[in-house]
Amino acid sequence: MSEQAQTEQELKPITLVEAVTQALAYALKNDPEVVVFGQDIGANGGVFRATDGLQKTFGADRVLDTPLAETMIAGIAVGMATQGLRPVAEFQFMGFIYPGLDHILSHAARMRNRTRGRLSCPIVYRAPYGGGIHAPEHHSESTEALFAHIPGLRVVVPSSPARAYGLLLAAIADPDPVLFLEPKRIYRAAKQPVPDNGEALPLDAAFVLREGTDLTLIAWGASVRETLAAAEQLASEGIEAEVIDPATLKPLDIHSIIDSLEKTRRCVVVHEAARFAGLGAEIAAQIQEYAFDLLDAPVQRVTGYDTVMPYYQLENTYLPGVERILAGARAALGYSREGER
């Protein structure tokens, strides 16, 4: 048995949130310019424990509890980054990120451009996002589309422990600002061994999670779980769905999606966020721009409703589950043009 294989075998499987911690620890250990800060991230290790133990290991001058002010958290990251630090800022929940939006949109995302390259903002803004954990109001939204609209920003969402580790390291190493959204519903849903080797995954590149020839299912974050489950159900019926996780939502790797459509010619986009002007709309628009002739059916969107995210008693009604994804898939599969019937 090779040494590497042995190490892999001994590797304890870890959850997505533990993979986040592992990536932060790796970055802190290997890059003295990295500083990590946010609310309750020190001794408490963050409300989801994503920074568990980091302050103890790396000290309170590199892993800092801030006062309770989200605008401040977003704003100081801009100043730090312009002077060469690599700030990794945590928002406790995505629902509390909006006071910081001014700094993300008006400053972090455009500092490089407005100074013509003189200053830059290599910042990672981390935030747990999405529904499904029976949290109070404002704790469950998925508003990634708001941020994907911002020029100069990257929006990255992992959907497994390995991708959380590799994509977070890539985000920290990236010379530009990244909004790193962590799907908290699957923070502890599955475990896998993740070697702590510092290997970053590529940003701006989609991941093909399951190969298939009959249908393309596109999903990110926590929805990947239900989407893969739907693909298994379809497989049991003899339909092979390809599942693609874009992972980097901005900039979007549309080419991997088009490549898939060359095979499947039918597509469903799944997201938790509200449908109107959600990323499903952008993906569908790009598909028809680049691959109209490939399509055998309109692109289906399986999404949250265009309503306020409900309190938790109804959140599972709101979130797209396996049945709704299957219904979308069947609509795409069953569609045929007039005259072709």
Partner: protein, 369 residues
Amino acid sequence: MHKPRLQLQASFDIARLQFLDKQGQATQPLPDFATPEWLTYCLRQMQLARLVDDRAVKLQRTGRLGTYPSTLGQEAIGVATGNALMAEDIYCPYYRETGAFLERGVLIEEILANWGGDERGQNFQHAPRDLPICVPIATQMLHAAGVAFALKYRHQQSNQPLQVAVASSGEGATSKGDFYEAMNLAGVWKLPMVFVVNNNQWAISVPRNAQTATQTIAQKAIAAGIPALQVDGNDIVAVAWAVRDAMQRARSGDGPALIEALSYRLCDHTTADDASRYRSAEELEQAWQWEPIKRLDTYLRAQDLWSDAKQQDMERELAQIMESALNNWESRTPEPATAIFDHLYAQLPAAFYEQYDQLRDEQVGAERE
């Protein structure tokens, strides 16, 4: 009704500093740094700032420049602040700062380029780490707090001398949450940072007394545990003393301070504004009586340090500087249209290639026609 007995927990006061009064008379001995050379240099820099502002406003009026914010009447604040920084300190400005920009080595042609719609104006050649001109109100104060953290971090990690971040703003900005959040953090993290607030009495059309119920702007710092001083902002010696003192304090590791510099906006908010809609001609005329350049000029002449001949020589010199900067600005080659993509990210992601190519091809086509 019975009044319960209360126990005093804390009390505070706010002081004002002045060296030269409205008539240009010294109200107390000037500090050592205020040598004849320094004072005449300040007179020159304030006049240069006024000249740049005057020419910029005229360029806007003749359609050659976009919206421009003049610093007319507030030149002492910018010049004294910019002059107090060391090269390695970091300046985090708002937009009404011509005098400070000149002190930081920002080129006049860069100032003109910025307000002339060209981002290269923010690529300060001689102030490479200073933050760009910040237009949204008060956001620069939080950036400055982050800069101050970085400076302190470097000092702690590598033992290099502690440098200082200086944030400037108007008094209107002190109504915003960013201001309070920045002060709060600077106080509790003891950041090497100085807040300089130009209280020029007007935030576009809203007067100081409609902006806040506090007696002074300076006292807002007390809530964050930060020392604060109010100064006569049209007395360049007072502004310089206060900023230097605050910077020395910050440089020694004693944390942040705030300076409220009292002045008056003799100009419109910007060239897009007409202040006669909301303030009286009488108020404006009164305010002209205590503007900073006349005051220092009067003082220097009384000390036999300035004369008509010296003034004429200087005006000639400044006019040449201005002409040369105008020529440099006007002879700049325009950026290609594709420059809008060049600094969007460190490396343009593949997802943008199509738009980039489309724009480039449109430009090539337009040039052919």
